[in-house]
Amino acid sequence: MTTMEYAIETINLVKRYPTRRPTMGRGGPFGGFGGGGGRGGHGGGMTSFGSIIDIIRKKKGPFVEALRGVNLQIKKGEIFGLLGPNGAGKTTLIKILCSLVLHDEGEAYVNGIDVKKNPRAVLRNLQAVLPESRGFTWRLTGRQNLYFYALLYGLGKKEAEERIDYLLEFTGLTERANDGYQRYSTGMQRKLLLCRALLPDSSILLFDEPTAGLDPPSAIEFRNMLSEVAKERDKTVFVSTHNLLEAQKMCNRIAIIDRGKITACDTPDNIRYKTFDERTVSITFHDVIFNEEHKKMLDELEKTYGVHSATPEMNSDGIFEGITIRLEKGADFSSILEVIMKSKLKIKWINTQEPTLEDAFIAITGRHPEIGRQMRRP
């Protein structure tokens, strides 16, 4: 059973897409897991009578599982990130929450409301920014477009005008508000999408790849805007991305989704540290010639509890520059320092190599977040 404690909750959510649809263009409808819920395609010519009969009879064909029992609990006020390679099921999950895609099994709730049973009530609690949505009329100005949506959301004239003025100011679009939408840059179009999503003042905002296609300064600006919305307006923000830096910087918690399954869910730091059993420490010395005493020290280091290996770093002249030590996460570092100090080496600096979220992501999924290609697991 769901509780009102969670802004979003999914229980064993399953979504299957048919893999054959003869009417679709672009070389077939589904590129991989989760492909169906998101990206657009275009149809070919006229549909055959046969395919229409198939559609009416709901002919069962082979399916691909875009989501395979997804369980998520997102608390109110959280900034939650959903990380996954392309085709992992991120867009499908977002579209299910928006009631744009219907799930096959399991349950999904928004503020305790069943997404399938009461989609209109859900949409009063949640809005989404989908990067490829093109609901704006190109010939209208940014302001006119927003006014159109304000009326669809049921806002009165005065309320709509005030809200639009505020949102245009918030996103820095005021000066260009009366320009035609077709003259907007990608960054401005994305800001207008944000304005539209904020028009009804819903308590939950979903963003699918919010900074995809933006140049770095625009991406930073957009990220800051999202953080501001979440903190100052006390909203729950759900962001799907394959930009790990974005997730690490913005999110209170993240989940990693791979091939339709949640494989990890925690704070970014916990995911980074829990994924790896060992850490790497590099110790650099003031130049000294490598000798027998140093060799003994290395042997002793390798026998120290918690140390997996100790590798000397030497240059071509035999100068002993430092050591790289791989040790257990909870190893006592003072005993390592004790061994080194006994050999009278002068330490120049110590560098701890922290695992990054990208390291953790690759370790968990075996794939690079942006390339999506299968990589060798470490």
């Binding site: 149809g43 010519g45 006229m46 744009l100 669809l152 035609g180």
Partner: protein
């Protein structure tokens, strides 16, 4: 008094389409030119079908034609409006506002229909003053005939759109209906003339097509001055209404089926 949200939504669509339309300045000019071309092109072969026109509508062929052009211009937006407004990219975003199906359908049609009503008047003025069209309209009957016609065409439009949302392309059902309409619906000549062109009895097919009733009821109301209480006209109106009573709810259901089916398949955002 608070305005119902559905009315606000319909108004929003109408204003959006009007604002968008006024940016296309040349459209106004070309539209007026099209009116002339349409009326002239329909004047061809008038003499061949003069007799059935006078039998069915007690009128001359040029009046029959011009009224037909005007009706075609008035009703086509009802068929096209929903389909044009249903670019799936837009559909996803608009459905996320949580609006109802009826407000969505009516909203998408409203501006085109209002614009058609405005251009309906110049059609008739040109017909009357240039081609000496004789109108013999009964206003209450015209209004009722137009409402029945609108319901029939909206039903057809929703059926076609519901199927298109799923198939993502021109569906053969719509294509077949359009082909049958162009031959059998009596757009350019009275349907009983089909018995002369082909063989006796073939015009029966026409009366099974909803579009035939749209043209027929509108022409009767505009050319024969029928009272709403006139039994022969009332019977024809009721016969035409049967199509409206069947097609409108069926269209509504098929449209909803199309949206749900597309959501099930995850293809709502496809085109």
């Amino acid at each position: 008094m608070e305005i119902p949200i559905a009315l606000k939504q319909i108004w929003a669509f109408t204003m959006r389409d009007f604002h968008s339309w006024v940016t296309y300045r040349t459209t106004v000019v070309t539209h007026i030119i099209n009116i002339f071309i349409g009326v002239i092109s329909w004047g061809v072969n008038a003499t061949y079908v003069q007799k059935p026109v006078s039998e069915m509508y007690h009128s001359d062929y040029i009046s029959f034609l011009v009224v037909g052009v005007a009706i075609g211009n008035l009703i086509m937006p009802l068929v096209q409006g929903v389909e044009i407004g249903l670019n799936p990219w837009t559909l996803e975003t608009i459905l996320m506002t949580g609006m109802g199906t009826s407000a969505f359908v009516i909203g998408n049609v409203m501006w085109r229909y209002l614009f058609s009503v405005l251009t309906f008047i110049p059609y008739l003025i040109i017909g009357i003053y240039v081609f000496h069209v004789t109108l013999n309209a009964n206003i209450p009957s015209v209004i009722v005939a137009f409402i029945v016609s609108a319901a029939i065409l909206m039903g057809l439009a929703m059926i076609s759109t519901g199927v298109r949302i799923v198939t993502k392309s021109t569906d053969p059902i719509t294509w077949a209906i359009n082909i049958l309409q162009s031959i059998f619906a009596g757009v350019a000549f009275p349907v009983i003339y089909l018995d002369t062109i082909f063989f006796p009895g073939v015009s029966t097919i026409s009366w099974l097509l909803p579009q035939t009733w749209v043209y027929h009821l509108c022409r009767l109301s505009m050319l024969t001055n029928p009272s709403l209480l006139d039994p022969p006209f009332l019977i024809q109106l009721l016969e035409g209404s049967v199509f409206a009573f069947i097609l409108f709810p069926v269209g509504y259901k098929i449209f909803e089926w199309g949206v749900n089916r597309s959501k099930q398949e995850g293809t709502l955002g496809w085109y």
